[in-house]
Symmetry: C2
Subunit: 330 residues, 2 copies
């Protein structure tokens, strides 16, 4: 069977290879074997290949934060799953044709949903959902603000906030995105700038915004802070500017803003299995009803993993790049 791996840190399109390895064999009692139907190429995967992610794996390394698979064999102790079920594995190293996974690490999802969409369910939707719900107790009608609003997480957040009755201010770095983000359900779209706070107050009639979600870092965090009410919270989850997230002394002391960060891995580790399953069930339901949908730019076979990574790294894509290691899912 084929897997994607890299033997040296470097540019993804230079170092990613599709290699042939021994098949996974039969499952142990508590395991299932799954065929991987599709996986997306996420920024965190590319950072891992570049050696810039939190964890630098020993080389050569497999990778891949998420996928969707179909169960092809089951150990006799695995409960709640049947051959043919669609599943999302909670573990990593998903850029493979086939894998063995503990039954407890598999979340069953509806077989009636587009597998390409399910392949993107594990990371971005819960990232958006948990950032939106775990830090500030927002009620329907409340506002939140986010930057990088045109990113994968940004789109999820707009859609999930809309479905939850929350209102969003969406900060982007260039003109021309407002129509698209409003069509997704965004309430206000503003282009970033030094007077962001003032323009956001105008656009929201001075609403008290208590949650900001930031993927940029640097002084963007200060400008988001200008948009927040006293004691508001800023949750950072990315660093597109490459600069340290910062607040002014006025914002820390006199506004008592709170700055922290979100990482999905420990958040999931802290949740009970039933809680994780019910969250993914809710999110898969949003996909099924069409309120959560990620545009797809292109799909590639696993043999073309380097080309797929290059495409995923390209500026101004309009959708996500996925790999379908067992051919186009039916």
């Amino acid at each position: 069977m084929k897997i994607a791996q890299f033997a040296a840190f470097g540019r993804p399109e230079d170092v990613l290879r599709c290699v042939e390895v021994d098949d996974v064999g039969a499952p142990a009692q508590d395991e299932a074997v799954i065929d991987v139907l599709a996986f997306p190429i996420n920024p965190a995967d590319l950072l891992t290949v570049e050696g810039r992610y939190a964890v630098r794996p020993p080389l050569p390394a497999r990778l891949g934060a998420e996928c969707v698979g179909r169960v092809t064999a089951l150990g006799r102790d695995v409960r709640g799953l049947a051959e043919g079920d669609l599943v999302i594995p909670l573990d990593r190293e998903n850029w493979v044709q086939r894998k063995k996974v503990k039954g407890a690490q598999l979340v069953k999802v509806s077989a009636n949903v587009d597998p390409l969409q399910l392949a993107m369910l594990k990371v971005n939707p819960p990232t958006a959902h948990l950032m939106m719900t775990q830090y500030v107790d927002l009620k329907p009608g409340d506002w939140l603000i986010q930057d990088a609003a045109n990113s994968g997480v940004g789109h999820c957040l707009i859609r999930l906030a809309k479905a939850a009755g929350l209102r969003t201010v969406n900060v982007v770095r260039r003109e021309g995105l407002a129509d698209e983000l409003v069509a997704l359900g965004g309430d206000v779209v503003v282009v970033d700038g030094p007077d962001l706070g003032e323009r956001v107050r105008d656009a929201t009639q001075g609403a008290a915004i208590r949650l900001a979600i930031d993927a940029v870092g640097g002084t963007q965090v200060v400008r988001l802070g200008d948009c927040l009410a006293e004691e508001g919270t800023i949750v950072n989850y990315g660093l597109l500017s490459g600069e340290n997230p910062q607040l002014t002394g006025h914002q820390t002391v006199f506004k008592r803003l709170r700055l922290t960060g979100f990482w999905l891995v420990p958040s999931l580790q802290r949740m009970a299995p039933a809680e994780i399953r019910s969250m993914y069930e809710m999110l898969a339901g949003r996909v099924a009803e069409g309120s959560l949908h990620v545009p797809v730019e292109a799909t590639y076979p696993i043999e073309e993993i380097a080309r797929a990574a290059a495409k995923a790294n390209a500026y101004r894509r309009t959708g996500k790049v996925l790999v379908t290691p067992n051919g186009t899912p039916k």
Copy 2:
């Protein structure tokens, strides 16, 4: 009677004046009149005069965050106070010879304690106490770390942490302070530097430090963050570097540190009156038993307010500068 005031923002020694105003007259039913025995000159007072504090008062302005006074007259509805009692007013504009205050705004303190020490009880000790207790639930034996350890709040924090059975890492900017801070009760004293995290881990045998207290801002916050365990909290209360408090993206996302700030005014506003009184009672008890003590550099009469401010602004003082508007307290 005499008061200190300023009619223009500027250097404190240039713009502070002692002026003669009408006396306060008799108290209303719910008021007391107090003679101010002593007040300290705090950094926040000087920032106010310079126009750099959160609030820029209309001019000319009185000022003064704290003092200790003696009750000289009482309205008939004021309960729990008698003429001759020593009191700390919770309101501002304390740089005066005499003032009228609502009885509900006065905290009675022991008459057997040095009035100069009581004059410094309202701001720094509760700032240290509340930062140490309100953000992270620390148990005896736990560590905390602070910078600006040789400041007024820094000294209070060392003493209060010691009395609470907590252990302190004290970061300073120059050599030669260790003996003094250890004598106050500090456990570890380190001079700041790029490898701070490593040296602090060595000095504490790798203890998991969950609370950092910062008065410097800028990249000092990053270095304190290097000393903290995952999900540790940094409470900022000053900006000695003049630079924005910041964290790295690694610290926000992968360590999930929390950065926020402390300001005494809203913290007190949020506490119930009984809670405020019992906190100050506890702190006055620490002064009485000698475990809380602030060295005094010099005292001045109110007529010399400009000289007193210049002295308070001087680099490398060894103690606090106070003013005694009614002569040396007996």
